[in-house]
Amino acid sequence: MIRRCPSPLGARQLAAVSLRAVTGILLLLLSGFGPGLLETPCLAAPPSATARDALGLPLALPAGLPHGLPFGLPIGLRPETAASPHALKPGNAKSAAMKTLHDPRVPFCHREATVIDEDMHAWCDVTLERNPSRRVSSPDVLPCPAWKAICARPPGKATKLLHHQEEQEVSESFAFPSHPAVAWILRFLLVALVLALIVVLLRLGRVSSERASNPDLPGQGEPMADRLAQERLQQVETDVQRLLARAAAAAAAGHFSSACNDAYAALLRRLEGLGLWQVEPHLTNGDMLRAVTRPKPALEPELKALVRDIEIVQFSQEPASRERFESVWERVQHLLRQGLVLWLMSFPALFLLGSCSCQPGGDADQWNESPSGHADWVPFLNEYGFDARERVAPLHRLAEKPDQKKGGHTAGAPHDGKKGHHGTKTDKVAAEPDALILLPTARVDETEWKAIEHWLLRAPHLLVVAGPSRERVPWKQLEGLDVAQEGVGPGDAEGVVAGVKHVIRLPHTRTLQGTSGSVALAFFPRQGVYGRRITLPLAEAAEKDSDVDVRAEHDGTEHGSEQAEGHHGDEDDDDDEPPAPVRTSEVLVLADDDLFANASLMFPDNARAATEILRQWGPRVELVTDVASLVADSPAQAVQRSGFGPAFLQLALLLLLAFIARGAIFGTPRDLPEPSRRAFVEHVRAIGALYQRAGHARRAMQVFASFVVERLRARHGMAGGRSLSSLAEAVAARTGQPLGHVMGLLVEARGAGTAPAAEEGSSSEDKEALARLRELASLLQEKGDTIERR
């Protein structure tokens, strides 16, 4: 527990503090904690600056502290009568802690193989003989069978999630420049970049489409896909194991041929999974051998021998023997185990493992069950009698009033005393908690802090558990909740004394900070514990002030609002109406999380301290961890919380660009284009070009002329005839061309066909020949017969 050393108090505050102190003492005496409290240094005269405590640990006084004035009520002094009407009945914290630790699922209590890091080893010092001067008397420590063995082992690798998270935050944090000009410039650059990208993509798309339509240009090869998806790797491994199992089963049944084939198939599957080989129906063992040994020549001898064995089994018509199978099996296993194959597998395997370890919750789950984690507190609180759970709803829902939902219950509402209230089917509209415990792993953004602020106005309670370093205390957000720092804040060294490791040392003059690790509340409540509290009354309260007074009583009566400062003010106060009873919220800040660490449950006093804090607030307690920050109400929120917003935006932008580049056909299912073949006319043209190149244009003329004449004769029913005049008359009559012109064409055509072998002609003669060809072709076309059949 931490107390915040107050700064030099004003007169009013001093009076209030004094009043609380006196009341607290009286209450403590009445509650029977007197003897313990009397021993508490809180009530003793403040030690000097060089004083040391009973364990010889130095005490340093913060500057400017009022001595001898505890500013807060020790928790243990909270009397029943002054408790909230919704307080939970006292239970047996020690018994509940014992039951919780007795669960064999608590690893540090029951699994000797559990490895804890150096930070967690600090708990060992408090409980065991490592440092006798710090040892807590054994009756005060609950038994944990495996704890001694765990502590005997040297600390392992640091796994503290918070440290890791902090390091990540420090290393990955990026403070976006807040200056508007910077943001404007960046926005402009981004837009310009996007536009330029669009232009480039469109241009590239046009070039590629030109290339595709021009067959003379070299085509672009399709890149080979060689990325292995995680799921495919897992499937590959499953197939490999299945085939090996089948091989073993077949061998056991005496079917050695099938067994050999299955074992071989397992190896092929593995090679396929590694991307070295693609199992295709038309590929032979030799193809596989060449494909695999080319990039991996080291595999050649073993693989070659295996293939030889397999081919004997498959094609030699000899029955497969046990010896043959064993040879195959051994070679397959060796190849599967071979370092090269494993090395080849290691990259995708590492990727798999790395992705697994990157998944949220992996390391966190392990850490949460460690001595420094918090996982055991929910069952402990439930065992005690609370209705505790880990919050899974988003924190921003706290801003919603439960009466807006069907059957919702507000904080502080009468509790039916049944456990598991939160776990009923009406969970969606279940009661809001009476108290929230913000553990260090909870990630609370600004919106959620606002929601908490609104929620606190309904008079529930908040326990903020900071991390081991002072920076984890959300000072900025707590300012919004009017938590007075009173001289203690981030970077403020005054009033802060380095905590004595592993010892609760909570004299009223000291403030502990958890910079170096754990602080075990091993000596509570002899030294007492108290924390900083603030009170947030409802809307009727006074105006908000940075300096918040501390409530002196818990009797639910109206707070001395006219006396206290720092209450939330309501400018719309109606002075004519009598003020409603003030229900107050409490915010308690702990500078480190050791009270709520799992190992803390080994000390019954710690358990008592925590339950006493929470009991007064009500039975419904929710522990807020990183889980709450993972939950989202909507897909958009899930994206926002996951941090994948930029990635999704980029993907959407990429799709948009692709759509723009490819047009409406992008994403539209299409049939594969039919393989194009050149039209026959193109071949004809090519042949004609060859003729021309060879200087045999007249030969082409001859051939075509003969063709035209024969076609015309056939069309006019003069096949086999030799007379051109009748043909010319018929053609002239059909085409409307002058008879003389048609006759001339036909005569030239026949003459060309009967001429001797064409000699190489000049270009002008070629042109003439081409002209004649066109005219002859026109005779056919005008007949309705097209030369080019499409």
Binding site: R269, N285, G286, E311, I312, F315
Partner: protein, 322 residues
């Protein structure tokens, strides 16, 4: 006789040939496979690649007689097979054997001779005998013909008809050697190699023609699994069913593929044929046995392309692919 012995023999023959023939490993291997499979080889390639030298070297190494016929447009059938010549002194017709009466025959530029002369040789290849004036005379055993064609010239040539091409076991397309091989050839000659006097090289006669004959029979005993038989028939059947093929390979092609696969399996020390043997030899066996559709030819499709496509489509036996 066993596969290991045959493999050793095969390697020795190959190594001995390599002393005189630099490069052309595919050609040498196919010729040897044909020799042990009792088949004939058609080699298509530009002149100057050492085809004649190959036959001579082969003859020395295999202990076989070898002869060469240069086919020309005026070559007569009797110039190939021989004929009866009237001996005036004795007053009888005496049969003069033609160059075909040999064990290794190089028929150089076979497409330059008219069809009649080609037929005479092709008949000898098929029947292992020649019939002259009604009398059939057997040719020596083994009898291997290596015929060559020059792909460059098309004027004044008489392309072998497709039906006749079927008689060749292999058609091997030989390309000009690479730079390293050509350099090695030059270095060989500088070192004193004289292709006209192979005796001075000291080429070892690895086996004789009787052994060759015996091994030819032995290779036919190599085991062929029914699945491999199916593979062969599927491939050959696919050549008849392919859309770009005008006519496909005949059963003679299937037999050629079978026999050569057996020989190849034995040359690798195996007593059984595997699909790789078939797949590797299929192009050489089938490329001259299929004719393409005219439009496929115009489009530039080659028989090798069709065979490659067929090999991609036909399922290999005992594959794990589903």
């Amino acid at each position: 006789m066993n596969a290991v012995e045959f493999q050793s023999l095969f390697e020795r023959v190959r190594a001995e040939i390599a002393r005189a023939i630099v490069g052309q490993t595919d050609l040498v291997e196919h010729v040897l496979l044909a020799a042990f499979s009792r088949g004939h080889v058609l080699i298509e390639g530009p002149p100057g690649l050492g085809k004649t030298l190959l036959v001579r070297v082969l003859g020395q190494v295999l202990g076989c007689d070898s002869r060469r016929i240069q086919f020309t447009p005026d070559l007569m059938p009797s110039d190939v097979t021989g004929g009866n010549v009237f001996q005036q002194q004795r007053g009888v017709f005496e049969f003069q054997k033609g160059p075909v009466f040999t064990q290794l025959l190089l028929a150089d530029e076979i497409n330059r001779a008219p069809a009649k002369t080609q037929s005479a040789l092709l008949e000898a290849m098929q029947e292992q005998s020649v019939t002259i004036d009604g009398q059939t005379r057997a040719l020596p055993t083994p009898f291997l013909v290596l015929a060559t064609q020059n792909p460059i010239e098309s004027q004044g040539t008489y392309p072998l008809p497709e039906a006749q091409l079927d008689r060749f076991l292999f058609k091997i397309e030989v390309a000009a050697p690479g730079r390293e091989v050509e350099r090695a050839i030059l270095a060989n000659h500088l070192a004193g190699f004289d292709p006209s006097s192979l005796d001075r090289m000291g080429l070892v006669k690895v086996l004789d023609h009787q052994s060759l004959h015996a091994w030819q029979h032995w290779t036919r005993t190599v085991t062929v699994d029914p699945s491999v038989l199916d593979y062969i028939t599927n491939i050959v059947a696919a050549t008849r069913e392919h859309g770009s093929v005008f006519f496909g390979a005949s059963p003679r092609g299937s037999l050629a593929l079978l026999f050569t696969a057996q020989t190849r399996a034995a040359s690798q020390g195996r007593t059984f044929v595997i699909p790789d043997d078939v797949k590797v030899l299929a192009p050489a066996v089938l490329r001259h046995r299929i004719g393409l559709e005219p439009d496929a030819e115009i489009e530039g499709l080659r028989p090798d392309d069709v065979i490659a496509a067929i090999l991609r489509d036909v399922r290999v036996p005992a594959t794990v692919a589903v």
